[in-house]
């Protein structure tokens, strides 16, 4: 049975691929038969030619026998299609511009759509790589009344939400940090670490690759010094040796035991997390809000339940903190917990931009499909005669339709292949571009589902539109086309349909152009927004002082940092340098409530407004380029023992005072109600979250009075950056060799990366909009060309009997521009509706910005006018003789 099956397969394969050989065999076989038959008759005594004739008669028609024998092989359909395909390729080959046009349009449509949908699929739709990741949530707090729209958790908060909220399967907290790994050869390396509470890994549901993870036993105020390594660090620093588990490393100057290694691909909560350390949860620590909560809902719990339950827990907690809330009744405030599905947290900022791009590529695909419909139907119209002739010669309707279908499919296939390539290119560019920092980019790839879908849509469209004219052709018009002058298959009705398609295209292009224009304007506004400081020319260097030496020894910190700053300032090419807790756009902020002396909080609310607090050394404002408006900056007089001083910024000062009035007043912080800080200066406001977020109030403190062992050093260089940085490194090494100088970045990078998402959205959207405009103008050009070709003879005759070329030009222009104007009008109306949806990602641009609308609508009309002008000029120069000869 099997051998039979095999022989059948062999037969079919041979029939398909060795057709020529089989044909030769058949010829030989039939010839042999005829020879034998002839010989038979000769043996019976007939003369040779009579014998041959008799043999032929007995045989029947040889050609028919061959044809049916071939058909009996069961491969005629394939053969026919192959023939059609060869014909199709030949036929497209003879009109390369047209064919190439269709292929390129299809490819762009497929490529753009598949590329963007792959990004959307990879970033927004794909589940996170954790079991039942839909049950993972992030928990933070909010108290909008005092400016805390997002408020991290304290140690006490974490323990409280873990124990009091109903609906958890597990709950944990973590916070980002750094740690210095001292290698055996004495070179330090700065690591990004996450300090996590005991249930962190249980929440995520990921077991370690080796050893164990951080566990509940590590949830003590003074945990054992253990570390869990990321796969990447294990490979790069420890050569992937299994024996590293159980061994000791030196982290922040202290011996730490490696207890486990996480599997490859585990990169929560951020891709550069290199090691996990116990946070050392201490439920009695009531202050210090820097922890992010992450929880896994129990299978039967809902998001709503956890939200309610956690809010109640927070309200209850607020009543236990009278010092903080001053008897505020939480139920009467907007104080709440923010429980957000983890995936939304990770992709939150890019969701809307990606959705906008997704909508844009759908429009592109639509335009591309409409364009191809126009091109193919026009082409079919031009071939009405050929088809009619084929019919007249006896080709069946199905045969002609199959021919048209094959031709459309050949184009769709070519376009699909090219489009797939484009999709890969687009995704590759986005994923590997250094300018792009989208979340979850690591394993975004071209999704086959998406690619398949777009291929099917485009091919389907090509087929449908290739066939539609065929149906018209087959129905009766054949004789007319063959007989007479009518060249357009559809005539007036067909032209109206084409006109409508062109109008639709222009409208869609207008929507896209306007959306892109708004984004562009928004981006320009963002780029043009003064940040309040000058990132260009400044370099930020992290200076993590080893905790084993410096923790708890503020005077050491102050001495070491001021020595480093002095040495760095002495480096040739360095114009200024300063130390600070952190920097604008660095993403780390300390905020606290503050109170102005003699000005109690507004009656009734009894809450203290939040301010960003930042310890900065002498020269900070000059180095960052922040203007000092009144008073003085910090200097060497501001020491640990001297009068506590502060510099506030304009955003804070203007709430209470005008101009220099602020100087001499005193403020205190909620965290330390005993110390009053005297305002000695007022600085300019800065936008330190992102260019699009308005400035928040800042209070600056003297670094010497409030030191940090993990400061940032900012260096403004006049000379060549590279050599200066090398000199800075040397200077740092002289003072404190245990400090890893790994994290060195131009401050402008920080600014740039905060604008990445906008930039990529804007660039892609602009590219798509230009593509749309191009496609639409090709569409209108094609239709108007056909229109002129159709009436070429008529125009010629008109000219011959005295019509003015100018009049003809105007007529054709009028026809085409009529379409364009209607299309643009519809598009503008559509844009007014569609761009409402853009509003949340637009910065200081109205979604109905009249300038953007006017400029782009006008521009599109201009392009349309150019596309119409070319055929119109041809009409005006019709040659009646040529037109008549063409018949």
């Amino acid at each position: 049975m099997l051998t039979e099956l095999w022989s059948q397969v062999r037969y079919r394969a041979r029939a398909l691929f060795r057709r020529a050989e089989m044909d030769r065999e058949l010829d030989a076989e039939l010839r042999d038969h005829l020879e034998r038959e002839t010989e038979k008759y000769e043996r019976e005594g007939l003369p040779p030619d009579e014998a041959h004739r008799r043999a032929r008669r007995a045989f029947g028609r040889v050609s028919h026998a061959k044809e049916t024998a071939r058909a009996a092989r069961g491969t005629t359909l394939v053969d026919g299609v192959a023939r059609d395909l060869r014909y199709a390729v030949r036929s497209w080959w003879s009109r390369p511009v047209f064919a190439l046009g269709v292929i390129v349009i299809l490819a762009l449509g497929i490529g753009a759509t598949s590329g963007i949908f792959s990004l959307v699929d990879g970033i927004l739709l794909r589940p996170l790589p954790y079991p039942h990741s839909e049950r993972l949530v992030q928990l933070k707090q909010a108290y909008p009344e005092i400016g805390l729209d997002s408020w991290a958790l304290s140690n006490q908060n974490v323990a409280m939400y873990r124990d009091r909220v109903r609906g958890w399967q597990a709950f944990a907290g973590f916070h980002h940090g750094g740690a210095t790994l001292m290698r055996d050869d004495g070179r330090p390396r700065r690591l990004g670490v996450e300090r996590v509470t005991g249930d962190f890994f249980r929440v995520l549901g990921v077991p370690p690759l080796l050893g164990r993870t951080i566990g509940r036993s590590d949830d003590t105020p003074d945990p054992a010094r253990v570390a869990v390594l990321s796969y990447g660090l294990w490979k790069s620093e420890f050569g992937g040796r299994r024996s590293v588990v159980g061994s000791s490393i030196v982290l922040d100057g202290r011996t730490t035991r490696v207890v486990g290694v996480m599997p490859e691909g585990f990169d929560f909560p951020r891709p550069w997390a290199q090691a996990y350390l116990p946070l050392g949860l201490d439920p009695t620590r009531r202050f210090g809000w820097f922890i992010t909560g992450v929880g896994r809902l129990a299978p039967d719990a809902t998001l709503g339940e956890v939200r309610r339950s956690s809010r109640l827990a927070m309200w209850h907690w607020a009543t236990t903190m009278p010092g903080l809330f001053h008897g505020v009744k939480p139920e009467t405030t907007r104080m709440t917990t923010l429980v957000t599905p983890l995936r939304d947290v990770l992709v939150g900022d890019v969701r809307r931009p990606l959705e906008v791009l997704q909508a844009a590529v759908v429009l592109i695909l639509l335009i591309a499909v409409v364009n191809i419909a126009l091109l193919l139907s026009n082409r079919a119209a031009g071939r009405a005669r050929e088809m009619a002739l084929r019919r007249a010669l006896g080709a069946s309707g199905g045969r002609v339709a199959r021919q048209l279908l094959t031709e459309s499919l050949a184009l769709a296939l070519a376009g699909g292949v090219l489009g797939t390539g484009l999709a890969y290119l687009l995704v590759h560019l986005v994923v590997h571009s250094p300018a792009v920092s989208l979340p979850r980019l690591g394993d975004v790839g071209v999704s086959w589902r998406v690619l398949g879908f777009t291929l099917v849509v485009s091919a389907g469209a090509g087929v449908a539109f290739g066939l539609a004219p065929a149906i018209g052709l087959l129905r009766g018009r054949a004789s007319a086309s063959l007989a007479g002058a009518e060249r357009g298959a559809g005539g007036a009705a067909g032209r109206r349909f084409d006109g409508a398609l062109v109008g639709v295209q222009i409208a869609l292009a207008a929507v896209l152009l306007i959306a892109a224009g708004l984004m562009l304007q928004s981006f320009r506004n963002l780029m043009g927004t003064p940040l309040g400081f000058e990132p260009r020319g400044a370099t930020a260097i992290a200076l993590p002082l080893p905790a084993s030496v410096y923790a708890g020894h503020d005077s050491l910190v102050v001495r070491a940092t001021s020595e480093i700053v002095d040495r760095v300032r002495a480096v040739p090419g360095v114009s200024t340098a300063a130390i600070s807790w952190n920097l604008p756009l660095g993403g780390r902020y300390n905020t606290d409530g503050f109170q102005v002396e003699g000005r109690p909080p507004p009656a009734g609310t009894r809450v203290e407004t939040q301010t960003v607090q930042l310890g900065v050394g002498p020269g900070y404002f000059r180095t960052l380029g922040i203007p000092l408006l009144y008073g003085r900056s910090f200097d060497d007089r501001d020491e640990a023992g001297s009068v506590p001083v502060t510099v506030v910024d304009q955003a804070l000062a203007s709430r209470y005072w005008r101009g220099a009035e602020a100087l001499g007043h005193r403020i205190r912080l909620t965290g330390d109600t005993t110390t009053w800080f005297t305002i000695v200066g007022v600085a300019g406001s800065v936008r330190d979250e992102s260019a699009s977020v308005p400035p928040r109030p800042h209070a600056y403190f003297a670094f010497a009075q409030a030191p940090s062992a993990q400061p940032m050093l900012t260096v403004r260089t006049a000379g060549k950056r590279g050599t200066v940085i090398a000199a800075v490194r040397r200077a740092v090494r002289v003072v404190e060799p245990a400090v890893p100088v790994d994290d060195v970045r131009p401050l402008s990078d920080w600014v740039g990366s905060s604008l990445d998402t906008q930039r990529i959205t804007e660039v892609l959207l602009l590219a798509f909009a230009l593509l749309a405009a191009l496609l639409a103008s090709v569409g209108i050009y094609g239709v108007m060309s056909l229109y002129v070709t159709d009436r070429y003879r008529e125009f010629g005759v008109r000219l011959a009997i005295g019509a003015q070329p100018r009049g003809l030009l105007r007529m054709v222009l009028g026809q085409g521009m009529g379409l364009a104007v209607v299309g643009v009008a519809v598009g503008v109306a559509g844009a007014l509706v569609a761009t409402r949806w853009l509003r949340s990602i637009l910065y200081e641009v109205s979604a109905a910005d009249p300038v953007v609308y006017a400029v782009l609508a006008g521009g599109l009309l201009g392009v349309a006018a150019l596309s119409v002008y070319l055929p119109a000029r041809r009409a005006a120069h019709s040659d009646p003789l040529e037109a008549l000869r063409a018949e």
Partner: protein, 110 residues
């Protein structure tokens, strides 16, 4: 094009070919001769229709073909029955008998 019609009931040619081959492998002309010999009086088969039928049988796997040498050293394509072909012949012969039997029965009754 108009197809040359068989004067045989549909499918009968296949049966005849299978039957002819059941005795020994033969080339196309041989099969034709054999069938003509046996049925010259009653059946008119255009020899040309033999080959499509042979190819169809080959595709179905009931016969297989190979090039061989016939008498006086001429190359010819020989067809031979496969196992499946033999089973098919039995099946078709049985069906044919039942059909003709039934037809005869009906004709004799009326």
């Amino acid at each position: 094009m108009t197809g040359a019609r068989l004067d045989l009931p549909q499918g009968t040619l296949d049966l005849l070919i299978l039957k002819a081959l059941s005795l020994q492998p033969m080339h196309g002309w041989g099969i034709s001769e054999r069938i003509q010999l046996v049925s010259r009086e009653t059946l008119q088969i255009p020899q040309g229709s033999l080959y499509p039928a042979l190819h169809r049988l080959e595709r179905k796997g009931w016969v297989k073909a190979h090039w061989g040498t016939s008498e006086n050293n001429r190359r010819a394509r020989f067809y031979e029955l496969t196992g499946a072909g033999r089973r098919q012949l039995e099946r078709e012969t049985e069906e044919w008998r039942r059909l003709t039997g039934a037809v005869r029965l009906v004709l004799e009754m009326s």
